[in-house]
């Protein structure tokens, strides 16, 4: 008996014996698992699918914008498509993206424990998330016209049109619940299940970033739930809270929505910064430059993120005094961001750089992140914010921060941890080609949009005056190249997850965090004997 337990513990989590019987026993062993690693892969599976769905929607819109006039769709389809693209990409892909996939997989391992605090709740979160997505997709079927108010709902327009708003609201509500549950799980895990000797300031930076993001998930999401609840009550019972005809004030809805949605951007960005803070020390073989300021900066971003929502309401008439205050916080929040970026550069300085695929992604992340941050300053200062508000400039900035930062960190993370997750290695040549194509495509797609927006082209429209065609043509070409790059990367990864060269090396990159001390791929029980931490993280001396 005891012998079988020991051998059981060394079986890879991918090959663990199913406790179910019958033809579908392997499927059941995945969809009924409480192993955090398998749940992470379940999220990865769903998120990849919906990333492809959202990307195709984006590509269709860009194809429409290749030339002025209605080419492949008209105004109505374009609005519906852009709404669905926004909702799927924000709520189903970007917000859970890094936390649910890599957070689930690596948080317990990096803390030196065997699972998250509430494993069953973790699985329930995944199911609630799936049901939420199904509801969102349901909005596309049925009697009413497609839902085209944009992903922020643009109340009261969103409730005044006859569209299937209820399934969308219920779907996002469920995804929000799943997000709260995940946040609770991560906070408790970090507080209670750190390995012996791992004091707060010996915790690696990716867990720190997840911890900061988890607090935002926990504290901001309830406000979104109330905003959605008000939409629900307004469109079913006409309670008057959002309807100006009945005394309601849509600005109040905007406040509630952005009190959530602004910090939600940091739910996406913080784990991205955490991942880059893992990759850069490993590939520089050097301790992170100023660990403590990085930690404080990550926490400061999470905290300050709660005070900048007014940035999104400069044209909503909320008063100059309030706007100045929001502007102040929006400029202040760039300080901790710059601190983290400087620490990354300081880490690379005089390090022995291992220049390979994950490092490419990490360095290009810094490039993307800087463009996002510097154009973000234009939204921080009020005068320029009003000028570029709701133009293509805003869309480009939004995509640099949300799509750019998250996808570059995601790609960096998957190329960094791929051998650990699957026990195989991807084809490095194709991975580098994919990176190059993706990088060129991304910048060609979004850089011209800054110019277009600055020249005054508004966002969210299917048509434009002919003078704007060169920029749009470049942007659409970029979209095609970007999709090509994404396909190369995804095919390379999926193929090699199954058939790639076996990689039994416990630590292919020379990393110092705990996930590199267990076998590859990880056993179903991470640690036979729980580690005791004595060193600082990233101790390369």
């Amino acid at each position: 008996m005891s012998e079988s337990i020991v051998s059981q513990q060394h079986v890879s989590y991918l090959k663990e014996e199913s406790r179910f019987k019958g033809r579908l026993k392997n499927l059941y062993s995945w969809i009924c698992t409480t192993d955090h690693k398998r749940i992470g892969l379940l999220y990865l599976f769903v998120i990849t699918i919906f990333f492809i769905v959202g990307a195709i929607q984006g590509l269709l819109m860009k194809l429409e914008l290749m030339a002025p006039g209605a080419n492949i769709m008209g105004s109505e389809s374009f609005s519906v498509l852009s709404t669905l693209h926004g909702i799927i990409m924000v709520f189903a892909v970007a917000i859970p993206g890094l936390t649910a996939v890599f957070g689930n997989f690596f948080l317990p391992i990096m803390l030196g424990t065997n699972n998250v605090a509430f494993p069953k709740l973790n699985l329930v979160s995944w199911y609630v998330y799936i049901i939420g997505i199904i509801f969102i997709l349901l909005s596309q079927f049925g009697y009413y016209s497609g839902f085209d108010s944009g992903w922020t709902f643009n109340i009261p327009y969103g409730i005044l049109i006859n569209a299937n708003i209820l399934p969308v609201v219920i779907g996002i509500f469920l995804i929000g619940l799943s997000s709260i549950a995940l946040g609770i799980n991560f906070i408790v895990t970090v507080h209670r299940y750190r390995a012996q000797g791992m004091s707060w300031f010996k915790m690696p930076l990716f867990p720190w970033s997840l911890y900061a993001a988890a607090w935002i998930q926990l504290l901001a999401t309830p406000v979104l739930v109330i905003a959605l609840f008000m939409i629900f009550a307004e469109s079913t019972m006409a309670i008057g809270m959002l309807d100006p005809m009945l005394g309601g004030d849509p600005t109040l809805y905007q406040h509630l929505f952005w009190i959530y949605a602004r910090p939600a951007i940091y739910i996406m960005i913080l784990p991205a910064m955490g991942i880059i803070s893992e990759i850069i020390p490993t590939f520089s073989q050097k301790t992170i430059f100023s660990y403590r300021t990085t930690v404080v900066a990550l926490l400061a971003i999470a905290f300050l993120g709660f005070f900048v929502w007014g940035q999104h309401m400069v044209t909503s008439g909320i008063g100059d005094r309030a706007l100045s205050l929001f502007s102040f916080f929006a400029l202040i929040i760039t300080v901790p961001m710059i601190v983290v970026v400087l620490n990354w550069l300081g880490t690379m300085h005089k390090g022995s750089l291992n220049i390979t695929t994950p490092f490419y992604w990490a360095v290009s992340f810094i490039f993307i992140f800087l463009i996002a941050g510097l154009t973000g300053l234009m939204f921080g200062s009020l005068a320029t914010n009003v000028y570029v508000h709701r133009t293509q400039f805003e869309i480009a900035h939004f995509h640099y921060i949300v799509f750019g930062s998250v996808s570059f960190a995601f790609m960096g993370a998957i190329h960094y941890w791929f051998p650990k997750i699957f026990g195989r290695m991807y084809n490095k040549k194709w991975a580098n080609i994919g990176f190059l194509v993706f990088f060129v495509g991304f910048n060609l797609l979004f850089l011209p949009m800054f110019m277009l927006g600055y020249q005054g082209l508004p966002g969210h429209f299917y048509d434009y005056p002919p003078g704007f065609q060169p920029g749009n043509l470049a942007s659409s070409t970029g979209a095609i190249i970007l999709i090509l790059g994404a396909l190369i990367i995804i095919i390379n990864l999926i193929r090699n997850a199954r058939f790639g060269r076996k990689c039994d090396d416990m630590n292919p990159w020379g990393g110092k965090t705990l996930e590199w001390t267990i076998s590859t791929p990880p056993p179903s029980v991470n640690f036979d004997k729980l580690p005791v931490i004595t060193n600082d993280p990233y101790d390369y001396n």
Binding site: P119, I180, I184, T221, V223, I239, L246, G247
Partner: protein, 205 residues
């Protein structure tokens, strides 16, 4: 085979679940907190209409509801302590009282809402629309906020009944009362939220 998958030395599973429950309570507080902000914003814009509409609600109804919930909170606390001290009968008795009071609260709410609806204060009806924006908002908020609270009471009631039967079957006992204790926290939270709803709707005149 059940193994302790965490085996962090000195880690108390009970303490962990309680911590999770407290975090959930934070989320709940922010949920209602957002609604309190909505209430405050609309009240400050329509002070006269809110004052008039507030007079339509009966103070005694609010007071009795508050007393009912406060007693249920007390009996819940007694019940949790009793099970920890292995006094099953007292625990069942006090939990039974909690169930009765929770049902009483819901029934009372039902009749109160019925009266309001008969008086024509249901949202989206012509009588209410004639009364103007402030009154519409007041009763919109009244039904939404007390409704969301009543939903919490209802979910709580289902949980209490479940726990009641677990105690009868000795599944919850002086060794294993953590689920019950955590649920007790939830119940106190729901009562606490009512303590804020009560002055907002019944006391401010």
């Amino acid at each position: 085979m059940k193994t302790n998958i965490y085996n962090v030395p000195g880690q108390d599973e009970h303490d962990v679940s309680k911590f999770g429950m407290w975090l959930f309570i934070f989320a709940e507080l922010l949920l209602f907190g957002a609604l309190f902000i909505v209430y405050t914003a609309y009240r400050s814009r329509n002070p006269a209409a809110f004052k008039l509409a507030g007079n339509e609600l009966e103070l005694t109804v609010g007071i009795i509801s508050t007393i009912i919930l406060l007693i249920s909170s007390t009996t819940m606390a007694i019940s949790v302590t009793a099970i920890q001290k292995n006094n099953k009968n007292l625990s069942l008795l006090t939990l039974g009282i909690t169930i009765l009071f929770a049902i009483a609260f819901l029934l009372y709410k039902y009749f109160e809402w019925g009266t309001r609806i008969n008086e024509g204060f249901l949202p989206d009806t012509n009588t209410l629309h004639e009364l103007g924006p402030g009154t519409i908002l007041f009763f919109g908020l009244y039904f939404v906020m007390t409704g969301l609270h009543a939903l919490h009471i209802l979910i709580g009631l289902i949980f209490i009944i479940y726990i009641f039967f677990r105690i009868i079957k000795n599944r919850i006992n002086s060794e294993n009362y953590h689920l019950f204790e955590n649920f007790g926290l939830f119940w106190h939270l729901v009562v606490l939220i009512w303590i804020f709803l009560f002055p907002l709707f019944y006391l401010i005149r």
